[in-house]
C-alpha cells in the first residue's frame, strides 16, 4: 500500500545542511498497524509528514496505492490526501471557531460530499467515538481526551484507508491514552492501515509492528530488540 524507496529529506540553510531523512526505505501493507519510535529529532515526524504528503521529499521514490507521489502537483496531492489519508495530531488541531460537527465536516466539504451524506457520516463517527451528544459543543468545552476523540472522528469521517497519527496520546493522561489507543485498535480491526508515531513504549508494544527511526534512517529492529533484551537481562 505504501512504499518508500531511498527517500531523503534535506533541510538547507545558508549555514547548515540537515538530513532529516536519509535513504529511508519502508513498505507498509494494507491493514497494518505500525508504531514508529525513535529519539527526538530522529526524523519520525518528517517521515510522517512525507507519508501524508504535507512535505515534499528531496530524493527517492514514494508510492501510495501505486501512485507516484513525487509526480503529483499540489492540487493532486491535496486530492489524494483528502481521499486516502486521515490525520491525528498530538495537539488535536481542531479549529476553535467550529463546533464538533463542523470540525468533522471540514475534510468532507473539501471532498465535495453532499450535505445529507456528510450528516450521516458525521453522526456515525461521533457515535463511534462516543460524543454524539456533544455535536454542537466547541472544542474548548471538551477535555483533552474528548478533543482527541473528535480529531479521530474527523480523520475517520473521510473513510480513509490510511491513518497517520503523530503522538496521538502525547497530551493525554494514561487513562485517556488507553481509551484512544483502544479506539485506534478498533479502527485498525475495521480495516484501516495505521502508522502511529509515539514515544510511549507501552503503546508501541501494543502495535503489531514496530519500526524505529534513528538519524533519519530506519533502524534494524531485530538488532534493536536484541539490544533491549540484553538490557533487560543485565537489569535483571
Amino acid at each position: 500500500m505504501l512504499k518508500m524507496n531511498n527517500i531523503s529529506k534535506l533541510y538547507q540553510t545558508e549555514m547548515v545542511q540537515t538530513h532529516a531523512l536519509r535513504d529511508f526505505n519502508l513498505q507498509v501493507e494494507e491493514g497494518e498497524f505500525i508504531a514508529v519510535t525513535g529519539p527526538s529529532g530522529s526524523g519520525k515526524t518528517t517521515f510522517l509528514n512525507i507519508a501524508g504528503m504535507l512535505e515534499p521529499f528531496s530524493s527517492g521514490e514514494y508510492l501510495l496505492d501505486g501512485i507516484d507521489v513525487g509526480k503529483l502537483n499540489d492540487n493532486q496531492r491535496a486530492d489524494v490526501r483528502n481521499q486516502k489519508i486521515g490525520f491525528i495530531f498530538q495537539g488535536f488541531n481542531l479549529i476553535p471557531d467550529l463546533n464538533l460537527y463542523e470540525n468533522i465536516e471540514v475534510p468532507l466539504r473539501y471532498r465535495g460530499i453532499k450535505a445529507s451524506e456528510r450528516k450521516r457520516r458525521i453522526e456515525q463517527c461521533l457515535e463511534q467515538v462516543g460524543l454524539a451528544s456533544r455535536a454542537k459543543h466547541l472544542p474548548q468545552q471538551l477535555s483533552g481526551g474528548q478533543q482527541q476523540r473528535v480529531a479521530i472522528a474527523r480523520a475517520l469521517a473521510g473513510e480513509p484507508r490510511f491513518l497517520l497519527a503523530d503522538e496521538p496520546t502525547g497530551n493525554l493522561d494514561s487513562l485517556m491514552a488507553r481509551q484512544v489507543m483502544e479506539l485506534l485498535e478498533q479502527i485498525n480491526r475495521d480495516g484501516a492501515t495505521i502508522i502511529m508515531v509515539t514515544h510511549d513504549p507501552e503503546l508501541a508494544r501494543r502495535a503489531p509492528r514496530n519500526i524505529q527511526v534513528v538519524d533519519g534512517q530506519l533502524a534494524d529492529f531485530t538488532l534493536y530488540q536484541g539490544a533491549q533484551n540484553l538490557k533487560n537481562v543485565a537489569g535483571a
Binding site: 509528514n49 504535507l54 499540489d74 490526501r81 495530531f89 495537539g91 488541531n93 479549529i95 473539501y110 465535495g112
Partner: protein, 437 residues
C-alpha cells in the same frame, strides 16, 4: 462552497471585530471620498439627452475679420450675432431649429398675493420645447403666428406656476414681467437638468429658466441679455438697433439634424450663407468657417468637465489606494495569524486554490461592507458639496450607476489588495504548524 466560504468569512469578522471594523472603515472612507468626486464627475460628464444628443447641433460661425482671433481651440465664437440668428431662424432648413437668449424680468401679479421678484427667462423660438424634449402639464407652446407677431405670451416652469398660482391650471392668466402683462399659454412639467447644455455660456450647471417667451420679443421689447456678450472689434452702439446690427455675439442657435444627409445639406447651406454674407461685406476672412457640434461635442468643446475635476478624481483614487495599502497591512497580519488553521485545512485536503478562494471571498465581503458604508459617507460628502456650493446642487448627487459602482469598485479594489495576503497564506507549509499548534 461559496456559501461555506461566506460563512467562514462572517465568522472571521466576528472573531476579530476591531480589526474587521477598522478595515471596513478604511475602505469606507476611501470609497466615500472617491465616490463623492467620481459622482460629481460622472454627473458633469453624463450625456444630458442620450436618445437624441447626436441629432442636436450647436451652430457656430466665424464672423471675425482676417487677423482677429477668438480664444476657442478652433478660433470660432461660441455664440451668434443677432442678425445671423434671425437669418438662420428664417432659413428653409432644417425643419427644427431654435434661436435663443437668456434674459430676466421682475415678475409680479395683479394682486398682493406674491411679492415682486426677479426671475431668469429664456427668449426662444417654439421648436425649443420639442427639440429639447420639454413637456407641458398645462397648455403648450405659443403658435408660429404668435412668434411672428411677438405676442405677449409666456410659458412658466412648474416651480414658478406653483409659486404664482399654487400649482393650479394658470392657462389664460396674466402675469406682469417688468411693465408689461403676458398671458400664460403653457406650464412645463418637471424639468430638471444636471447640465444646462443648450446654453453653456451662461451657467452650465444652473437650472433651466422659469420663464419662456417668444424670441421675437427680443426686438420689440429691446431686451438686454443676461448672459455673455462678446465682440471682436470696436463698434459705436448708440441704440438697440445698432446692437442688433452689430457683430457682437450674444445668442445661441441649435439645429436638429436627424440624419448625416441632413447635416451635410445644412453644412452646405451654411457655406452658401457665409458666401452670401461676404457679398454684403461681412465674413471678410479668406475662408470663414462654420461648425456643427452635437451635444456631447459641445460639452467637450466648452470644457464642462474641467481639468481640476479630473485631477480631483485622480487624487481621490490615490487616497483610495492609500486606504487599500493600510488594509493590505491589516489583512497580512490577520491572515498570517491564521496560518495554523490554514495548515490544518491543508492537511485535511484543502488545495492551495481552495484556501486562496476562501480568503478572497473574505476580502470581497470586506469590500462589500466597506462599499455599503462608503455609499453612506459619499452621500454625506455630496450633501456637504450641495450645502457649500449652490452651483453644484443638481450634479452633486449619486445616480443608480454610481450607487451600483460603489460596491463594485470597493470589492474589486479589496480583492486587488487581498491578492498578496491570500497568496501568501495559501502558500503556508502545513507541516510547520501541525506539530506546533
Amino acid at each position: 462552497m461559496l456559501l461555506h466560504y461566506l460563512d467562514l468569512s462572517w465568522r472571521s469578522f466576528k472573531r476579530t471585530p476591531l480589526v474587521s471594523f477598522l478595515m471596513v472603515l478604511a475602505i469606507a472612507i476611501g470609497i466615500g471620498v472617491t465616490m463623492t468626486s467620481l459622482s460629481v464627475y460622472h454627473m458633469m460628464s453624463a450625456d444630458p439627452i442620450p436618445h437624441k444628443s447626436s441629432q442636436l447641433y450647436a451652430v457656430q460661425l466665424q464672423t471675425m475679420d482676417e487677423g482677429h482671433t477668438w480664444w476657442t481651440d478652433d478660433n470660432l465664437p461660441m455664440q451668434l450675432t443677432y442678425q445671423d440668428a434671425v437669418n438662420l431662424q428664417s432659413a428653409p432648413l432644417p425643419e427644427k431649429k431654435v434661436a435663443m437668449m437668456r434674459t430676466g424680468f421682475s415678475v409680479y401679479l395683479d394682486s398682493d398675493k406674491v411679492k415682486p421678484f426677479t426671475s431668469n427667462a429664456r427668449m426662444t423660438t417654439p421648436d425649443f420645447f420639442t427639440m429639447f424634449d420639454v413637456s407641458f402639464i398645462y397648455g403648450g407652446v405659443w403658435s408660429e403666428q404668435q412668434e411672428q407677431s411677438a405676442a405677449p405670451v409666456v410659458v412658466l416652469s412648474k416651480e414658478l406656476n406653483d409659486k404664482l398660482f399654487a400649482g393650479d391650471n394658470s392657462i389664460g392668466q396674466l402675469i406682469y414681467l417688468d411693465d408689461y402683462s403676458y398671458e400664460v399659454v403653457g406650464v412645463l412639467a418637471d424639468w430638471s437638468l444636471n447640465l444646462k447644455y443648450y446654453d453653456l455660456n451662461n451657467g452650465a450647471f444652473n437650472q433651466p429658466e422659469d420663464l419662456f417667451l417668444p424670441f421675437s420679443l427680443v426686438k420689440t421689447k429691446e431686451l438686454s441679455s443676461w448672459g455673455n456678450s462678446n465682440g471682436w472689434k470696436h463698434e459705436n452702439i448708440n441704440s438697440y438697433a445698432d446692437r442688433m446690427q452689430s457683430e457682437i455675439v450674444w445668442l445661441q442657435f441649435w439645429a436638429q439634424l436627424d440624419t448625416p444627409e441632413q447635416k451635410t445639406a445644412y453644412g452646405n447651406y451654411l457655406t452658401a450663407y457665409i458666401e452670401e454674407q461676404k457679398k454684403r461685406g461681412r465674413f471678410s476672412r479668406e475662408k470663414p468657417k462654420y461648425s456643427l457640434r452635437d451635444v456631447n461635442q459641445w460639452m467637450q468643446y466648452n470644457n464642462v468637465v474641467s481639468e481640476d475635476n479630473k485631477i480631483l478624481v485622480g487624487l481621490s483614487f490615490m487616497f483610495l489606494a492609500v486606504c487599500l495599502a493600510n488594509i493590505l497591512g491589516l489583512l497580512l497580519a490577520k491572515f498570517l495569524r491564521r496560518a495554523p488553521e490554514v495548515g490544518v485545512r491543508r492537511a485535511l485536503g484543502a488545495s492551495k486554490r481552495q484556501v486562496f478562494l476562501q480568503h478572497l471571498v473574505e476580502v470581497a465581503m470586506l469590500g462589500c461592507f466597506g462599499g455599503l458604508v462608503g455609499i453612506v459617507l459619499a452621500q454625506l460628502g455630496l450633501w456637504s458639496v450641495r450645502q457649500s456650493y449652490d452651483y453644484y446642487s443638481s450634479i452633486a448627487t449619486m445616480d443608480i450607476t454610481m450607487l451600483l459602482s460603489a460596491p463594485v469598485i470597493a470589492i474589486t479594489t479589496c480583492i486587488v489588495a487581498g491578492l498578496y495576503p491570500a497568496w501568501l497564506v495559501c502558500k503556508t507549509n502545513p507541516a510547520i504548524y501541525l506539530k506546533s499548534q
